[in-house]
Structure formats: structure tokens, C-alpha cells
């Protein structure tokens, strides 16, 4: 009865005709991790007792947020008829910030399960990943999940899917990751429909890196898909993009724990340990080949990681600066997309300008720094990369408002994105209003069904990075889903707005905005700061300015009363302790010129709130 392989083929000597490499494409919370768990159980790769829910998400933050950041691959044996097969399930990151990583994972597969929540239907993220899977020519196996839910409408959403990819609604499999219903049929379908890897077993070795992680004990662990040939431990290997060479110390597969193997053969998915110390030397998308017998050309599609969002990270306690540097160094071992360089701010002191793939990436890094490294941080408003042309024709790359050139400017080029929003059709108006307000241009609209519509906007990346998604959520009662990818650039009328305290610009508060939004930014910041900065012994003007032109101003009036008088009887200590507390409070003040600004004011002023 059990279709589990009794005597499965071993890694390194598995014929590619019995290998099936696939991934699961799903919107967040549609049940990818749960389904993966169920597959591990059905194939007896883990026993129910070993089952820790959501086996594949293994970082704390991922577990908490329920999103997969780092992908992994698991080898599962499965029998159909009398034939033993090897299924390699590659878990892909689920967030747009990691689109490139997703594309490399997809490139390691021949098939993809399109997993859709039977109570929710298709969402923007599903679409984006589905299109990407189709671009990679993957065999798509459509699956509706959570059919055990009373609210499930499998018929309705099967129709939505069939409209989308042009198949018979009856071909959409219906499963429940929770009860396990339909999971074995799904595994059979994978064997039947996903093509076996094609590749030349005799050709020089080529392995595509689709992920690499840093392990404290083993150094860097590189995940690869063997495209051609074979790799074996103790042979010399070479990374084709970086050119660096190593000795292969170990190869193996995960099932689900690491099992060393005699090698990895064509079509197989597994890991390599090379003694590389830093993930930056084992780059996602790079090709591993044999040092002795190198391949002629690398596998296509390699790209350097490209940070798109920049933010300044500063320790609240200046003496934590070395600790912050150390923490960033450590994080970078495991995150090749993270880049940083030292930066100083007059207002915030010593810190780093850090480049991220997107806002989620920023948030994750920030959270890990605070949680795993116990650092209290201030982060400045996120910034994209602008190319600013000055009058004399030089082009300045600006990742920080302080780099924005002074003086006359001929043009500013800003990065754009294509945003895909899926919403119930009643919200079309709100989405359009918001997107227009955020300088988006409508580029298309399609009805997925009568009630749901896909809207596409060409929109400045800076707006997406700032608060577009939060606003989108709040204006659509949480129904909207968003996906985006970088898409060209445009010339725009952008200016730098400075915020001045007592006439001195506070670098941490400067921002690059569209001229039409400069005024509202200025008003918002000046009034926020007026609330946040305590009154001083003198009047403090707060101004917003474009160059030398003041566009908004507020005044913090001088404090007139700063004395506590009450009859405390003989309790002199109480009054003294109040003063001693003020002395402590002083230490959390930053001096901006002669103005005392509490740390909290920086944090609050720099936090993006969407209540406006």
C-alpha cells in the first residue's frame, strides 16, 4: 500500500530519468510550509514524532512571520508503480524583495506546484511567481489547498486558475495540507507530469548555486543543482563568476538532515562544502565547475545582488558602534545581498549606510540586529538610488539625501517599478486614487473573475518603498495584495527637503521627494518635531527648506516654567532624586547645535507612520 520507495537510489548514482525537481509557488499563508511538512511525512522522510511544524522554515524570524527567507532543498523518495523516484523539493523565498533568489530556485526546477488557498483565490504574489515559473518553462501543477475549510470554494477558484493558465478546471488538484487529503495523489502527479532533468552526464561539471548559507560549524554551505556532469569530494572546483578555486570537502543531500554523499550527479540537488568562509564567495546564480576540466560557459542568468533601498543605521548608544559593525559583518556572512559602508551623521553620530533588496529585507536585518545582537538602533528614512545630473554634466549617484548635489541641477533620474495589485473590484477606485497620488501610471487592468481584478501601475520605486503598501492595505481593508519588480527609470521633478533646527539643517531628517510632495513632507516633519522636541530656554524655529527657500515653519516657544514647587515636607531626597533622574535623561539627549533633542524624537520622527 505504501508507495514509499523501499530501496531508493543513492545520491551520486541516481539516474536522472527518475529525478523530479520541483518547487511550490504560493502567496503567503496559503499553506506552502504546511504542505511541505505533509509531503515530508508522506514520504517518511520525517516521522510524525520528529515533525516540528513547518520544518523548512528554520530561522526564528521566519517562523514568527511565517515567511520563508532562505530556501532549502529536501530529497524525498517516492514510488509509483514499481519504479523508485527521487523528488527534490526546493523551497523558494516568498517575498518580492528576494525576486532574484526566487528566480534562481525556479531555475533549479523542472516543475512547480501552483498552490492556491481554496478560500482566498489567487493573490498578487502567486501571480508574480507563477509568471516567473512560466518564464522558466516549468511544468505547472495547479493545486487548491485548504479544502477542509468550511469557507473553501474550490469550484470557484479552480475556474479562476483555469482561466489564468488555460487548463481544464477538473485538472486542478484539491488537497488539504492540514488533513493530508490529496497529498499522495499530488506526489504521484509530480512524478507523472514534471519532466526529468535533461543534462549531459559526460560533459564537464556545471552546478548552479541557488542558495548558500553560513553555518557556524561548517562555514558556508552551498546549495546546488547539478546541470551537467558530476562533482565528487576532494576534487578541485572553481566558481566561474568569481574565478576562485577550492577543494570540495563534502557533498551531500538533505533528507531532511544533511547526509554526506559520494558525489552529486547530473540532475541532482544537494549541497557542497568547500571551506568558503563568506557567502559572498559563493554567490547565488554562480556556476560551480571542475578545476581540472572546467566547463566552457557558465549557466546563464547570473547577476550580482543589487541593493535597491538604502537606510542609515545608527546605534542609539554611540559606544555600540563597534558592536554594530561586528554584527553587520556576521550577518553579511549569511546574506550576500546585504551591503554597507560607514557613514557619519551630524545628528546621529557614527553609523552605516546599509543597502537592502527591499523594505522587508531592511526590516528583517534591523530586527535581527536588535534581537540577536541586542542593539538599539535608529534607522533613517529608506532611500532609493537617484542619478542626479548637475549643470556641468556630471552624474551623481545618490543613495542618501546628503549626497544630493548643491546648486543647479539639470535632471534627476529615479528608479521605477511595475506594481501588480490584486483586489476585490469594489476597491478599484481607492487603489487608483492612491496610486495616482503616489505618481503611478496605470499600465493595465484585468479581471481575474467578476469580483477580483488585477491592476498594474508603473510607479516610482521610492513611493513603494515608502508607504504605498501600508496605505494600500489600509484603504482596501487589508484585501489588496501587492507585487512589484524593478522596471526602468524616469526623469522626475525631485528636490531635497532639509529640516532646519535654529537655522541648521539636521542631516538625518533630509529627504528627497517630488516637488509636489515637498510641502506636505515639510509640514509633517516640522509639526511632528514641534511635538517631539521639548521646549528649551530659548525659542527654537523649525523650518523645512528646499535649498534656501523656506517652505514650512513651526516654532517651539521658549520654556517659561521649569520648576517644581510643592511642600514635600522634609522629603528632600525626593526632590533631589527628581533632579538626578533629569540628569540621566540628559544622557539620552543629542545636541543639535544648542538644541537638546531626545533620542525618542529622532526615533519617532523617522518612523513612517501611516495615520496621516
Amino acid at each position: 500500500m505504501s508507495p514509499v520507495a523501499s530501496n531508493p537510489p543513492q545520491p551520486g548514482s541516481t539516474h536522472s530519468s527518475v529525478i523530479r525537481n520541483f518547487c511550490i509557488v504560493a502567496h503567503i499563508d496559503h499553506g506552502k510550509s504546511t504542505l511541505a511538512d505533509r509531503m515530508l511525512q508522506s514520504t517518511k522522510v520525517v516521522t510524525p514524532r520528529e515533525m516540528q511544524n513547518q520544518f523548512l522554515d528554520n530561522m526564528d524570524i521566519e517562523r514568527e512571520r511565517g515567511i520563508t527567507i532562505k530556501s532549502q532543498a529536501v530529497r524525498m523518495p517516492w514510488q509509483v508503480g514499481n519504479e523508485d523516484y527521487i523528488l527534490n523539493m526546493i523551497d523558494t523565498p516568498g517575498h518580492v524583495d528576494f525576486a532574484y533568489e526566487v528566480s534562481r530556485s525556479l531555475a533549479a526546477c523542472e516543475g512547480a506546484i501552483l498552490l492556491v488557498d481554496a478560500a482566498q483565490g489567487i493573490e498578487a504574489q502567486t501571480l508574480a511567481n507563477l509568471y516567473m515559473a512560466m518564464e522558466h518553462d516549468l511544468e505547472i501543477i495547479p493545486v487548491l489547498n485548504k479544502i477542509d475549510l468550511p469557507a473553501a470554494e474550490p469550484e470557484r477558484y479552480a475556474l479562476e486558475i483555469s482561466n489564468l493558465i488555460g487548463i481544464d478546471p477538473d485538472d486542478v488538484l484539491k488537497v488539504s495540507g492540514k488533513t493530508g487529503e490529496g497529498v499522495e495523489e499530488l506526489l504521484d502527479r509530480v512524478v507523472r507530469d514534471v519532466p526529468a532533468p535533461s543534462g549531459d552526464a559526460e560533459a564537464p561539471a556545471r552546478a548552479m548555486i541557488f542558495d548558500s548559507i553560513y553555518d557556524t560549524y561548517r562555514g558556508v554551505i552551498t546549495y546546488v543543482r547539478m546541470v551537467d556532469g558530476k562533482l565528487e569530494p576532494r576534487q578541485g572546483i572553481q566558481m566561474m563568476a568569481t574565478g576562485s578555486t577550492y577543494e570540495l570537502q563534502e557533498s551531500g543531500i538533505y533528507s531532511p538532515d544533511a547526509i554526506p554523499s559520494k558525489g552529486l550527479g547530473v540532475g541532482e540537488v544537494g549541497y557542497l562544502i568547500t571551506g568558503v568562509k563568506d557567502v559572498a564567495e559563493s554567490k547565488v546564480g554562480d556556476t560551480v565547475t571542475s578545476k581540472k576540466q572546467p566547463a566552457e560557459a557558465p549557466i546563464g542568468g547570473y547577476r550580482e545582488p543589487q541593493p535597491m533601498v538604502f537606510s542609515g543605521l545608527y546605534p542609539i548608544d554611540g559606544s555600540d558602534y563597534p558592536a554594530l559593525r561586528e554584527a553587520l559583518e556576521k550577518l553579511q556572512l549569511n546574506d550576500a545581498a546585504l551591503s554597507y559602508e560607514p557613514e557619519t551623521s551630524v545628528a546621529l553620530g557614527f553609523g552605516f549606510r546599509v543597502g537592502f533588496l527591499g523594505l522587508l529585507h531592511l526590516e528583517i536585518v534591523r530586527e535581527r540586529l536588535e534581537r540577536e545582537y541586542n542593539l538599539d538602533l535608529i534607522s533613517t528614512a529608506p532611500n532609493v538610488i537617484y542619478n542626479v545630473t548637475t549643470e556641468d554634466g556630471t552624474v551623481v549617484r545618490v543613495t542618501n539625501p546628503s549626497e544630493f548635489p548643491e546648486g543647479k541641477i539639470t535632471e534627476v533620474d529615479e528608479p521605477m517599478a511595475m506594481a501588480t495589485v490584486i483586489v476585490p473590484s469594489e476597491f478599484i477606485g481607492s487603489v487608483m486614487e492612491l496610486s495616482q497620488n503616489k505618481r503611478g501610471q496605470l499600465s493595465g487592468m484585468d479581471y481575474l473573475s467578476e469580483e477580483r481584478v488585477e491592476i498594474r501601475y508603473w510607479i516610482p520605486l521610492a513611493e513603494i518603498v515608502f508607504d504605498y503598501f501600508d496605505l494600500l492595505k489600509s484603504r482596501t481593508k487589508g484585501y489588496a495584495s501587492l507585487n512589484w519588480h524593478r522596471d526602468g527609470s524616469q526623469i522626475a521633478d525631485l528636490v531635497k527637503v532639509d529640516i532646519l533646527l535654529q537655522g541648521d539643517a539636521v542631516d538625518a531628517f533630509s529627504a528627497i521627494t517630488h516637488r509636489d510632495h515637498a510641502y506636505s513632507y515639510g509640514v509633517k516633519m516640522t509639526s511632528k518635531l514641534k511635538e517631539l522636541i521639548p521646549r528649551q530656554q530659548f525659542e527654537v524655529p523649525i523650518q523645512a527648506a528646499i535649498g534656501s527657500r523656506i517652505i514650512a515653519r513651526e516654532n517651539i516657544r521658549a520654556i517659561r516654567k521649569d520648576v517644581l514647587s510643592k511642600c514635600y515636607g522634609g522629603d528632600i531626597s525626593r526632590k533631589r532624586k527628581l533632579l538626578e533622574k533629569q540628569k540621566e535623561g540628559k544622557k539620552r539627549m543629542k545636541m543639535v547645535g544648542t538644541v537638546e533633542v531626545p533620542q525618542e524624537a529622532f526615533i519617532a520622527a523617522l518612523s513612517t507612520d501611516t495615520d496621516t
Partner: protein, 407 residues
């Protein structure tokens, strides 16, 4: 037992010795009040309206004994102050009994100021006369305001008429009278405050204390403000009212001698200033009797168990009611000295400070120049080696303290 350094510093010195007696009872709790006071008339043995005087007397005896055993020479009391709570919730004879026992134990200076606090609606002509007969020579009455809606927000139990009548009894009994006021209560207009000041002046007190309302954590008022029942207090409003107070009182012959205190002294003779309060600000010695009372002798500070029942059980078991003490280190002593001195019209004496700490005095000299230029302290006084806040400086007195203390 007191540590040895106390006897060494006190004996033969010109440090004065005062007595504070805390009475931890009120008939109801005012919304703004966070003093150590209780509504229940009976909190246990030795802690009821009837039995409290005996507990206080036991602590007095304990104090005299401890001082003697520690070799601290007895000094007649320079001032005595009964505060609360509402001391006048006890029988007048209980208050005078305590006072008489103190006199037996320590003696009392001839011109000593002997005060009790009183709530306007807790007095009677009979009680006032008994207090006068029993040795009290001053009553400090909690008037707070003469405007009904302000008294309501403060949740005072008295009405404006109570104040007028009680003031008559105090006068007729030949006692000096001080009035406590609060300004800046939510809903109090400038005109309201003027009316209160006018009412004060018609009562012709010898002394006035006027405090800007402080919204203390944990009080009912704080909760009401948080919930939006009342607007929060406004520091600018309090500043305006303080200036108004100074102007009105000064014009009527009152002189400020501490930030919140004015003495009727039209000819600048230094009269009517509260000797007891000055003892605190001048860093003199005092013994605080009663639950939660604080004491100070020559740099040693200690305080009693806060709850009356806990206090009484200790005292009745012949144990010290003190539950904590500190000997502020030199930095803390310095901060205290500055903080107390700059509140006074007589000012902070830089030479005295130099005796305590030369470097700190030098810093004070330097910072004083800046403060003088900002017109926060009197330049003329500075020439005589004193730091005295100007009118503007009185409103920024904590900022002056921080500056002089170097932070």
C-alpha cells in the same frame, strides 16, 4: 542609635533642631493629593484617630532616648510643625498633648514657631482656642482657592465661606495665619485666580504659600486628565499666574523668601517667614515623627514605615519606626545644597559651597556669569557671592540648579 558622626557634627554647632509631626488622616482624599494620608479613622492598634497621639508620643520618647544614647546633646526645639494629612482631625487636646511631651523631652526655644496645618472645614472656634492655649502660635490653613468650581475640581470638602469663618477664629485667638494656595487647576481662568488672590488679601494672612498644581502619578486627577475629563495643566498658564501672584502680593506688602512662599513684611524686616520651612531649606536638623516622616541630622537622612499600622506596630513594640536611611554622597550633598539654596531669596552662598567642594564652587562661579547674562540670577547679589534667582529665574529654578550642578 545614630552613627557617631552625627553627634560630632551636631554637638556645639549652631545647627538648629526642629520637630515635624505627621498626622496621616483626612476625611476624604483630594483628587490631586499623593501625600501619605488615609481616610479610615481606624487603621489598627496605635493607628486610629483616638490612639495615634500615643504612638507619636512613643516615638518622641524613642527619639529623645536614641539621641541621648548616641551622645547627641539635647537642643531646645527651634520650630515645631504638625502636618498631614489633616492634623486637626485629631482632638486639639491630642495635638497639644504631643506638643507638651516634646517640650518636656527637648525644651522649646523662646521664640519658636509652632504650627499646625488645618483644613478650613476641620476647625472650630473651640479647637482653635485650645490649640492657642496649648502652645501653638501659628495655623497654616489649606485654602487652595476661593472659587467654587476650582475647589470642586480639586475635590476639596470645604467651601469659600469655611475659610473666611475659620480665618476669623484664628485671628481672634491671636494666632499667626498662613494660607496655602494652588494655582493652575484645570478650568481655573486668570480671572478666577485673581479672585482667589483678592480673597487672600482681604483675609490678611501673615504668610502665603502658593503652589502650581502638580499632577502626580497615581492620583485620581492624573487618571481624569488621561481620560480627558479635564485638560492637562499648562506650564505657560502657571507661569502667568505665578507672575500675577508675585505682583499682587508684593503690592500688598508681601515679600517672597522662597519660590512658593511669601511673608507679610512691608518694611523688609525679615518677619513672618516660616522658620520651620527655612530649617529644611537651610539644611538644618529635624526629627520627623509619624508614618512616612523624613528626618535629617547632619547629613544622615532616614524615613519611617509608611503605613500607619506598620508604623504603630513598630513603635508600640519599642522598635525604631525607621525603615530606610541614606547618607548622600558628596555629589548628592552638593546637588542638595545647590537645589535648596537657589530657591531662597537669601540665596546660595558660594563661599559656603566652596567649603564643601572647591571645584564645584568654581563651576558655579563660571556658570553664574552665564545665568547672570541671561537675567536668570541677580547680578548684584552675585557680586556679594550669592546666587539669587530673578523673577524670571524663579520660574526656571530647576534649570538654574541643573546648570550650576553641571548637567
Amino acid at each position: 542609635m545614630l552613627p557617631d558622626f552625627v553627634a560630632a557634627a551636631v554637638n556645639g554647632s549652631d545647627r538648629t533642631f526642629s520637630l515635624y509631626v505627621h498626622v496621616p488622616f483626612c476625611s476624604s482624599r483630594c483628587g490631586y493629593c499623593d501625600f501619605n494620608t488615609y481616610i479610615s479613622p481606624d487603621l489598627g492598634p496605635g493607628a486610629s484617630h483616638e490612639s495615634y497621639a500615643d504612638s507619636a508620643i512613643k516615638e518622641l520618647e524613642f527619639a529623645a532616648d536614641a539621641m541621648e544614647k548616641s551622645g547627641v546633646a539635647a537642643k531646645p526645639l527651634h520650630s515645631v510643625f504638625f502636618g498631614g494629612g489633616t492634623p486637626t482631625l485629631l482632638q486639639a487636646t491630642d495635638l497639644t498633648r504631643i506638643l507638651q511631651r516634646a517640650e518636656q523631652l527637648f525644651g522649646i526655644e523662646d521664640a519658636a514657631e509652632i504650627t499646625t496645618e488645618a483644613n478650613p472645614d476641620s476647625l472650630s472656634l473651640d479647637a482653635v482656642q485650645r490649640l492657642a492655649d496649648g502652645g501653638f502660635n501659628r495655623i497654616s490653613m489649606g485654602m487652595q482657592s476661593s472659587v467654587s468650581h476650582v475647589l470642586q475640581v480639586l475635590e476639596r470638602t470645604h467651601n469659600p465661606d469655611n475659610v473666611e469663618i475659620a480665618a476669623g477664629w484664628i485671628r481672634d485667638s491671636g494666632l499667626e495665619m498662613s494660607l496655602d494656595l494652588i494655582f493652575g487647576t484645570p478650568g481655573e481662568s486668570i480671572a478666577d485666580w485673581k479672585r482667589s488672590l483678592d480673597a487672600v488679601l482681604t483675609l490678611e494672612p501673615d504668610h502665603v504659600s502658593a503652589y502650581g498644581l502638580i499632577v502626580e502619578d497615581g492620583t485620581k486627577l492624573a487618571a481624569q486628565i488621561r481620560r480627558g475629563v479635564y485638560p492637562n495643566t499648562d506650564p505657560d498658564d502657571q507661569a502667568d499666574k505665578y507672575l500675577l501672584t508675585e505682583r499682587r502680593l508684593a503690592a500688598a506688602g508681601y515679600r517672597w523668601y522662597e519660590i512658593s512662599n511669601w511673608a507679610y513684611d512691608p518694611h523688609d524686616e525679615g518677619i513672618h517667614q516660616s522658620q520651620h520651612n527655612l530649617a529644611y531649606w537651610r539644611d538644618q536638623d529635624w526629627w520627623g515623627i509619624g508614618p512616612g516622616a523624613h528626618s535629617h541630622m547632619a547629613g544622615l537622612r532616614w524615613w519611617n514605615a509608611k503605613h500607619p499600622a506598620a508604623y504603630a506596630s513598630r513603635v508600640l513594640a519599642n522598635k525604631s519606626p525607621a525603615i530606610g536611611h541614606e547618607i548622600p554622597d558628596s555629589d548628592a550633598r552638593l546637588l542638595e545644597k545647590i537645589m535648596l539654596g537657589v530657591r531662597l531669596a537669601e540665596g546660595l552662598d558660594i563661599e559656603e559651597l566652596a567649603a564643601q567642594n572647591k571645584e564645584a564652587a568654581a563651576l558655579v562661579q563660571r556658570e553664574a556669569k552665564v545665568l547672570g547674562a541671561q537675567e536668570l540670577i541677580e547680578s548684584s547679589a552675585l557680586e556679594n557671592g550669592k546666587i539669587v534667582p530673578t523673577l524670571k529665574g524663579r520660574l526656571l529654578d530647576d534649570a538654574i540648579t541643573r546648570r550650576l550642578a553641571g548637567f
